[in-house]
Symmetry: D2
Subunit: 342 residues, 4 copies
């Protein structure tokens, strides 16, 4: 039985790790830290988990040294994660759910997030997208779990990018996310009253996931792509839908385009390619680790629509998938369950 | 043109006063205070109001002395309102939307809310429910605007109480409120993610609106009634539905019961009695000052269902109705508009 | 591997059976009928199930005779279920999710639902509430799966009823249900636009679940109880919260009341008794088979609040729990998973 | 007092016309037809309107000849509207809310909607967007009220198009609409349970509003633009947010771009240009006739975000604005009210 520790377990990605791992046949959570709730039984903070973690108390993150685990998840915010990851790596293989180790280039990190305090680990960290880097993940000591928006955007366009088909400067990522993406801190903008009848774009042209999407699509394409990215807020708790537009270097028939995606994903259990004329709905992936993808092409102009649950394939499920790969477990363990679509 | 000032105008009842008064033919807002936003143009805080209050800045509540208005609304929280109301009364007639002047009995106030700092005004304040106290409101210097839950509960049961029909100890008020009732402060419990898929009872047996409901139904009945009150949280922004149960002293036919309500409300423009077999839906009063009421009787057991918009008839619309009465304006002015039902 | 057939599998209880059984270690669905969708692969109708039932087509319910299964679930509407259950019983043990076999008294059934066409089975059918009838369920040939509202109401009050503590005529069941309780048929009242900002009482004093609640609480109490039941519609997909009020024959202390519930439920894995002062929220049981219960007493007046997912503990999860009991499987199999609380 | 008749008044645009005109100082509804509800008082169908149209019954659309009105609104579906409009025009000036008279080119209409039965009126009909065609509307006998998506898209991009700045083939209209856009007919896809946790793209590359957007942006630009249009469904009742992308022929500074929009809209009372860095939210225009617009430019790439209430500025409010213009009334009458933002 693999022993897992979760650092910063009282946020939504922490809750989601606890939820998913509660049913893992080969792993169990032995430690969950929370500065705010240390000493409190988990079900007092998360009543949904009553019956599952009744004997586990949130522990103090200061007691880092005493943790005996095989794998450590860091579910702390960016900036805070880089403080603990170097320490954790001394004893554990680490899966970091923050943005701290996703960008390979230190200057890019510094420009978007501020001075990195553990930049020496950037070159070692493996970007944890199994559909692109499964082999690297298997051997990794430190996995940087992808961001939610980037997961949906990269899975949507990487197959075309890898074929060198996307015209530079043409890619537009119009993404829409549920409110849980903003985390568990209480803010006016994410309060029920403000958000429940609203829909808006935010951080137009300036969202921090932009360089992460660019990095990965540029690697896939073998050259700078120059994406435009606009995030929006949907009045649902979970789900990201990305509508990705691009202009190709040449026209493709519908079936040529489909073949490219079949080649990329036919062996992937968590990517579901929808039939012609069908497009994904976030409700159909809710609570699950699936990424559903729908395709449209008109000459050389493509529209690819992808849907994930931002807390599962966009965060904690993705992290468990990476754990399964790193430790040679069944990649689907604890993850291959039907979505709660209604 | 009546000049109105709003103290504590940056919460939801303040926003709602601004919204309603923007279309008042005979009144205009000349001052709106906010400690947090002082100096900021109103539309920067409330973008919906762009085009209506473009030249009005939130002012500092400390500048109380400089206000030149005919009527002052206090939309401050309970406890804070009693600090400013005595001062406001020196120059203005006052409508207080907090709980501070609703209870006639100082000891009851102190027991539920803590020590009152302006208890000498309790006997003067008029409980601002026009359907019961229209005449007193007309001449009042200080109107205590009713609470949202009490408005729905009192309008539901007062007609029966006034006839002395309700058996002591039998009244149960099962109320359900939208999230805006909790105010504009950001909290985890009222965040979108926590509230949007939930429904719960809260403060079972201990909500502060209990003594207010008891006071008014006891006055109506001419003797102690002993209500049980359970509030619940609905995942909508606006609306309160109250399902009120009581056992009567004797059986009534359906039409006898209906006649009692017709007698009570046939001249009331904001109470709409629904036909037999019809029951209210909060969506049908949304954004409006109406209270819809549906009736059911089975022998001596009655079920009365009432619906209001908690921010309008449950707060700011009610307050404007009181202003209209106090100043001899058309009682319906700015208020008689169709609900936004969808 | 137990073979399960689902009749009427294209509604929400059918979808939910498919969802839950997809992860059952000891049972699998071998047949799912749908008149409307016969011949269509399940994932075309329910895209969430893509990857799980890719090779299973909805079959024609007319082909009843050819089914080879160990257990048959009937997820057909009341009235229709009684047409097929007698036939199914010739070859299978049957769990019926409709209302057709829940009432023991034929006249009561006829009065509320119309003439019963298989009334001879009423005396044989076992009411499938494991917390009350586990032993009978184990040996049953026909289990009548409880209604959603009754499950929440009976689990809330049965412990007090069994102690003979509830005063006749005092019980009030104020229940609130998510929209999925109305089924998958498209109606104006359950459309998004009509329901999403609404909350209403409906069928006041006349809902068909009333006799079912009365039957079971009367059996528990050993004498007629006379409940009043008011259902309401919450703008969420899933969940029922029941606020049950009763007057007791005598006063109880808080701990005496708690002990009664501990005695009743301490061995039940799917009933979670909340600590003093805590009350359930439907979000905390969503997607799960749990029933959460919170208690309040003031002298002889009790308020018990219960929460279930109407599609799981209120329907399909309950049915799988019954299947597990009937066939000697682990009662928790496929069911003991954490709720999707956000 | 202007007399208005509404044909097909029992859908959502009909309800919205009734709601808005209830408070019009210079117009009143004298007739409202509905095949389904003929003979029924309006408040029985729309309980929100109780107190406003208590004496008006839905009339039979067959009695077309007897209508005595100054203006007729046709709120019938496309295809049906063209059957009645020629008849209505014999006696009334007509505002048609369907798609039937929006396209100037008969062949385009036929290609997207099927054979037009009153194509001779296409050349006479004025496209009812006051911000572009106010003078023509003033004198029009037949106004084709714009579609909801086109209103948001055209107001977003027309100022740039009119300056000839948009590069051909570069415009992408990514629009998101609330569910009321689908109308009042009950369908599975627009049921609460299916829609409330979902978000999806639909009719990718094939939505019928595409030629309407193209027509108007092409006229504005003075040459074919070639837009790509993707509609999505938001789980809210009301609101459209359009995120429009385009590549310009040359770079513009932020203030140059802003000046173009100020020039276009500074005299428009229903278009609100948001400050730099602010972007619209559909909640801030809900229930109102406003279109809020936010601007972003990076070199030659622009992102323009617009928000309207699809039932008001996207339909019935727009229609009343057109009526006000046609009859020389205050253009703001009945329309200049603050949004119900929460």
């Amino acid at each position: 039985m693999l022993k897992a520790a979760i650092f910063g377990a009282s946020g939504y990605t922490g809750l989601e790790l606890l939820r998913i791992l509660a049913n893992h046949p080969d792993a169990k959570v032995v430690e969950a830290t929370s500065r705010q709730y240390k000493g409190t039984p988990i079900p007092e903070v998360f009543p949904a988990l009553r019956g599952f973690y009744d004997d586990l108390l949130f522990s103090d993150p200061e007691d880092l040294g005493s943790v005996k685990a095989d794998v450590a998840f860091s579910a702390m915010p960016h900036g805070a994660s880089q403080d603990v990851v170097p320490e954790l790596l001394k004893k554990n293989r680490v899966i970091d759910l923050s943005a701290d180790f996703r960008l390979h280039d230190k200057d890019t990190y510094n420009a978007w997030y501020g001075e990195h305090k553990a930049a020496h680990l950037l070159s070692e960290a493996v970007y944890g997208l199994p559909e692109l880097y499964r082999k690297d993940i298997k051997g990794a000591r430190l996995v940087a779990n992808p961001g939610c928006y980037p997961t949906s955007a990269i899975l949507a366009l990487a197959p075309l990018a890898k074929k060198g088909l996307i015209k530079t400067g043409s890619a537009i990522i119009d993404s829409k996310s549920g409110v849980s993406g903003a985390g568990r801190g209480a803010t006016l903008a994410t309060s029920f009253v403000e958000a429940s009848s609203g829909f808006k774009a935010y951080k137009v042209g300036s969202h921090r996931h932009t360089p992460e999407i660019e990095q990965e699509l540029t690697i896939a394409a073998g050259g700078q792509l120059g994406v435009r990215f606009t995030p929006h807020l949907i009045p649902v708790s979970r789900g990201i839908l990305t509508t990705a537009y691009a202009e190709l270097n040449r026209t493709l028939s519908n079936s040529e385009m489909r073949d490219i995606y079949i080649e990329a994903y036919s062996n992937e259990r968590f990517v579901r390619l929808l039939p012609d004329g069908s497009f994904p709905d976030i409700s159909q992936v809710r609570g699950s680790n699936f990424c559903d993808i729908g395709l449209f092409i008109d000459g050389s102009r493509v529209t690819v629509v992808s849907a994930i649950d931002n807390l599962v394939k966009g965060a904690s499920g993705h992290a468990v998938q990476n754990m399964n790969i790193m430790f040679g477990l069944d990649e689907k363990a604890a993850l291959f369950t039907p979505p709660l679509s209604i």
